[in-house]
Symmetry: C2
Subunit: 250 residues, 2 copies
Amino acid sequence: MSAIDVLWLPAEIESDAPRGRATVVIDVIRATTSITTALAAGADRVIPALTVSEAREAATRTEGSLLCGERQGLPPEGFDLGNAPGDFDPATVAGRTLVFTTTNGTAAIERARGEGGEGPLRLGCFRNVRAVARRVAADAAPGGRGLAIVCAGRRGRVSMDDAWCAGHLAGRLVHAVAGVGLTDGARAAQALSAELGPPTAAALARTAAGRALHGIGRADDLSACAALDDLEVVPVWRAGALVKGGEEDV
Amino acid sequence: MSAIDVLWLPAEIESDAPRGRATVVIDVIRATTSITTALAAGADRVIPALTVSEAREAATRTEGSLLCGERQGLPPEGFDLGNAPGDFDPATVAGRTLVFTTTNGTAAIERARGEGGEGPLRLGCFRNVRAVARRVAADAAPGGRGLAIVCAGRRGRVSMDDAWCAGHLAGRLVHAVAGVGLTDGARAAQALSAELGPPTAAALARTAAGRALHGIGRADDLSACAALDDLEVVPVWRAGALVKGGEEDV
């Protein structure tokens, strides 16, 4: 079994991929960037929801929770916060439970929970990619449980920002861990990342997701999405929610 | 609408992609390489079949046809030819109808026929990529019908060889046609191809499909798969079969 796999789309989860691997879900623009930012700002936990109505029900059941997320990029009616990294400042989210629904990111998390089986599920983005690499290095190493990096994509299509970040993570692991094996998907993502170099807001602005953000007047969100290694938090799935994993979560 | 799209997997056809575009299906190792080779060797037409039993039935219905293809890389029992480019020499295939079934390539062709709608469907590989680029340049140009390059992939997973060739085709079109737009999938494939450079048999041997060929003693097939621009034939879908398109097929 190859030790590092990149799934360019959640649809690849349906195939005959091995089970029980560690999983990292990536949706750079913007869900996994926002959730990582929210936990770094002190949010207690993030409960992902597939649909707006599921999110509303979960928020009703969870006292003191904040309802967060987007449809067509903007917060649905009655939501407390959107899906912009800048929405999640400590004054707003510290100590709170966030119920979170987005078009692509939370759907990918749901599907990846099936993929992972018994393996740990984490979220990655450019902001925390160094920290993620540290957490999953043993999984990716020969003899480890294997690592599946799942790109959220955009409405069922390949998304440049996610594949780029997935390849960046794969590349870091290749340099950090001796003897790592890579699937075709991982090698392609790593080559893509090598060609593109480090992320910039300007480069993210040329992706489909970046152009869509520009179209709704949210291009400023791209600076946070392009920030590299400025957060140490790695969201990890535990007891029905994403929480801030410690170094001991491995 | 972006003028050049690359679908990294046939699963992307299920999404909300635009209809009526020109389509090029790519399965470098080995189906589209073999079918291109067969038509270049003088085969009259190639009828793709999804399953081995469909292929047997189609061959029975079609007098003088040859039954070709693979499962687990090797010709099923009773097949006349496999899926190796070298199987299709003029002495064997000239003037014949080939019924063809493979694990990934013919399935991708079937799905792409739905994607294309009214648009023309062609097959590409490294051997004919220059000729393909010439045929689809007008589709990819601003004001054209748009171009969808569909990677066959491997059992539902991204395949390095297909994405590489798709990116190579996209890159040629970007240089040849002014003002071409690209989707994220096309840009990612083009960046991958730029990073990898021209194909070699040694590089194809490191892909998942290449390693599988090695495992069944067919690594020699990779030289034909890595040959660049040595064929002018572009298989095109017409009246239920793939035939050798002329320059007038545009």
